[in-house]
Symmetry: D2
Subunit: 376 residues, 4 copies
């Protein structure tokens, strides 16, 4: 291997580098908490490396890299501080757009999971990366974590390999509208509670922090639990894709807090229908979450998009969205049903596959266009 | 032209002939009132003609013919009593499945419009036509009348040529599930009122008659206004695709009854939102219609499918469906949003084109499959 | 039926009317000999009828009609002289482009088959129909006659219903390149002989006449056997799609002239390969036909496109095309293989279906683009 | 990172491991010379690592990994001997099929390029990997090296990143037919000479060695230059996709041997046509190569597939194939034209993109099916 003697190290702070995803930008190295969190550069030179620092207890991070908008690599990262080559032997003068992104969702179940970016090595120079026309925030569960977008249909193991940003409807919608995007999602979590009735595993509870579903001292040091500065990045639309796990909770046993003994459960009546009281608190959670999003994003369109993994809560969610609109007079909030996944569109782990993401991305992008979003 | 000397006349009554669509089967000749109304035969012999009787004041009927399930012809019919050849010179012994169907919706604006079937001429014999696995009833407006499924994008004339059964989501869903289907639809009509606020142009008001939107002495003689005998054909699912015109009414001037001076209008508030009182009566109309459908179809799934021509009333309709479920405990009633038509999927007259019908048919068929419908 | 009192009769001669397809334009009424033969008008007014005269012994003609470029009707025609309504009740001032075209190939097996156009009835006026950017001539067999493009897969009867221009690769290529087109084709015919070894059923023998494969006094009077005036319509490209039947002939018994006792046959050797002498005369027929086409179309690109119904003669035809190029120095002649039809793309009568035609049309249009054809 | 203490090392020799691609299987570590060269295992356990040894002067190897048939990772490899984790935390008992494959072609321009496999680390056990139904050998140039299948359309740098096995028509055909495959390809090389007239850069000259286009002591030690034992893996079909570079050579300046001063060039005549003498030696090279393939693969179908990057040599190649068939009486040799790449199907570096590979793979797989290949 003939070494390139001209490589120089550049810390993120000293170069033009666009940061994607909610993070604490004052940190060095920079944490990439969410799937879709990324560093993006426009760089000349023949060669580019990124220096990362990785750790985890159980679930390793996966990353992808796109070059001039095309996905070229995707890989698992092991623990350690090391360099990864992103390109080599390219024309020295041309400007290469490179995006190095996290494929794996933030991992609430592995507080040791960290993906930090120190800087780059290159023999080129770093030019500004302009913002795209729009900003979109996607808030969701395993669907938005891209679970099922990689791997064979038969797979049932819950492992990072099968989650992604690269085959995610969020990135497809963003490409269709020339938008930057940020994702906040967690597999198994809901609006009110998790698929197995854990009442604290809901996205609203962590929405106002940078990455509030993480715990532990290291994550705290990395800024995950800091309040998120909404003014720093005001989205043109917030897409909420939640409800699938709340539907599941009705069919799961109660959760019991192992310490306090307290329990939580969404109940079915004897006839198999949802207990009205439990449905009520779920609908209230929808209304409260919409109000919370609105408070933090005063000008954004808010679209509650639901259905990719089952239609069970279509009516209660739609009704709650409607009730929120009535109460708030907030006419920039919408409900959009997305097509359920079928045998033809399913991916691994019985989750929406790439074809399902493509189908929903088309419908969602068309809806946003009808609200005035125009790809230039 | 060498004449076939072996043709014999068969009136409908004396042969195996399956009748599609709501009609008065005691009539002779048999009226085909709705788009999708049809006669279907399994016939041997080399040649088949159908004898029809046609009239209209302004809007001529169009018909299509499928042979062994494949559409082979589509044409305009002029007034008169005459024979149309459906096939010639085919193998004498093979059984040919032939369906001769009306492409044009029932025409509430042309009481002179009639398409009657007297019988067939053939040199073969007529074998029984078995029922398909399921029965589906589709209730709708111009979308279900197939408006926009034929013709160039630029067309704006409101003429029968551009409406169809042959490129209609209703037939696509039925093919996908091996179902017979009946359609009840009228362009411009709504749940509560028409696109231009006519309060009597709503589908519920004519749902319990054979073809209650027709008027005039001839139609009455033909049985159009007779009560429809729901027991004769109980659908496995009723799909309601209404709401588009009710949404439009809010943006149209008031309708004034030219005789009584009485007026009707769905209002917008000054801020552009729907007047809550008007919305309320619309939602009540949804609830009442669901109850009416349920009363007449006690075992059917009912699916309110909405969105192919705009999402404006998604939330009020969803809420009304939910309210109906709550009040009635009717758990076999559902709401399904269908994707709005886009520049890519639009047809003539700014209506959903064939691609839009295909897209929605896939989603609707998948939904019915999830309810247990299985194509054998 | 309320009659339109404003209709006037216009003979073809007195109006702007574009004639498609080889015919004797001095005739009145005008014969439409080939599939794709058509009259096309740009007309204002609310209503348009065409007056035709039709006859046949056995095989009835089928026609189609497109309005503003969209196919709206397709039907069988019976014998007689009568009017067919093409549109009604359209906006009086708008210019409607209407093409009334023959779906059925010229019928060498039915000398009584005629489709003649007398004129139009309309309440509008007829504006000029401009030429398209290019002119394309398609020369072929049952594939170019569109056999298999309509009807169910199971169909095996050889009847006009299953042939078409409307779903033919020829029209698809022409639309893709903004071209006018003329078709010369006959099912069963070949370069040298027919599928069953009839030595006179080859397209080259009739290429220089208007419709040289027809016989009988009436056809002669209609001008079918007149020399074709190539100077009147010089194509930019001639696409030859022949060879399928010549391949079949090797596997069929010898043909015997019932009168003279003379026989003809393309032979297989005992090992199943083509007899070299028979192959030689076939290759010579290819060379001779190319020379004949070139003589009559000095500036056209010539593309021998082969393969949609089997690849058997790919090598001999390619070699003959190459030999012709060598001998003639004619560098504007090409060979293009088209994809064979598969289970997924097959239509009725085991012939290429619409999907096969679409696939080949794409490849052929792309090839013509590579030669410099540009859709404006 | 919590370490898995149960991992054990397994050298390739001691386990069930299927080796893909021509190589010297007696080597340890095992060289993966060609794109598509791979090791494939069926393994239980929760975790699997592969130990590789990598080196190169300039052009780094890229690899991919599929799990249960689905591509899950693709990455660049740097020099060194190290382990790569292929999966972690999977169900211990299930059998995982893992294929670790080389994405990069053999690199005749970088004799330092080596990718060697030492063995695996796992906590599971290795079960036999059965052969697939068929064996296919693909012989080609940059198209078969997958050049252009990754990267943005605008890319023009010639780097390994843009070549692949994973998006290659060869793997698509093999999946469609349930076949194992071996690839022999080199960008820029031809049948007779390279794109720039280098007379020794032709695939036939290295066809009988394991990887005869490599040079240098290390490659020799690794067995690259050993005769290839054809009896060890007799393909059911050999697909030759060569000719694109031979066409290019006619338009390039002469090559001059820097040492001997000897030159080589394929000439155009003044009128722009191919010099017949040069064409002759090219056609002879086709004939000789077919004879060479046949000698080594007595029972295989041989398909010369050409056209994905231009049709220039369609006729000379077809004629040569035909001449070879005549001379040899070899009736299991065929010519198949594949569709040229268009603006819609092009990939990076103006080469066929994934859509072009898919299109050609479908046509090629259908052709092989017509020869009797049946996916079980």
């Amino acid at each position: 291997m003939i070494e390139n003697k001209n490589l120089k190290y550049f810390s993120l702070k000293e170069i033009n580098c666009k940061i994607h995803g909610r993070t604490d930008e004052s940190q060095s190295p920079l944490p990439l908490f969410w799937n879709g969190s990324a560093v993006e550069v426009n760089v000349t030179g023949t060669e580019l490396w990124i220096e990362v620092e990785v750790d985890f207890d159980i679930h390793e991070p996966w990353v992808g890299c796109s070059l001039n908008g095309a996905l070229v690599s995707r890989q698992m990262l092991m623990a350690g501080r090391y360099k990864i080559c992103l390109f080599r032997n390219m024309s020295v003068d041309s400007v290469k757009n490179v995006r190095f992104f996290r494929e794996l969702q933030a991992m609430s179940e592995d507080n040791g999971n960290h993906l930090l970016v120190h800087g780059f090595y290159s023999d080129g120079s770093f030019l500004p990366v302009p913002d795209r026309t729009y900003k979109l925030e996607f808030v969701g569960d395993s669907i938005t974590s891209g679970e099922g977008t990689y791997g064979a249909k038969q797979e049932q193991d819950w492992i990072p390999m099968f989650m992604s940003f690269s085959r995610n409807y969020a990135v497809m919608v963003s490409e269709a509208l020339d938008a930057d995007c940020r994702l906040i999602s967690q597999g198994g979590w809901g609006i009110l509670c998790s698929w197995d009735n854990k009442p604290y595993e809901n996205i609203p509870s962590c929405y106002e922090k940078i990455c509030g579903l993480l715990k532990g001292e290291t994550n705290e040091k990395l800024g995950a639990l800091k309040p998120y500065d909404f003014s720093s990045w005001q989205p043109d639309a917030v897409i909420v894709n939640l409800g699938t796990n709340d539907a599941g909770a009705f069919n799961q046993p109660a959760w019991r807090n192992p310490i306090t003994g307290e329990t939580f459960k969404q109940h079915l009546l004897e006839d198999g229908s949802y207990d009205p009281a439990d449905l009520k608190r779920l609908e209230q959670a929808v209304i409260d979450f919409l109000a919370l999003i609105r408070r933090n994003n005063p000008n954004a369109f808010i679209v509650w998009a639901y259905g990719m993994a089952g239609y069970d809560l279509t009516l209660p969610i739609a009704e709650a969205v409607n009730e929120y609109r009535r109460q708030s007079k907030d006419r920039k909030t919408f409900f959009l049903q997305l097509p359920d996944t079928t045998d033809e569109t399913v991916g691994s782990r019985s989750h929406p596959g790439p074809k399902s993401h493509e189908q929903s991305a088309k419908i969602l992008a068309a809806f946003l266009k009808s609200l005035g979003f125009v790809k230039k």
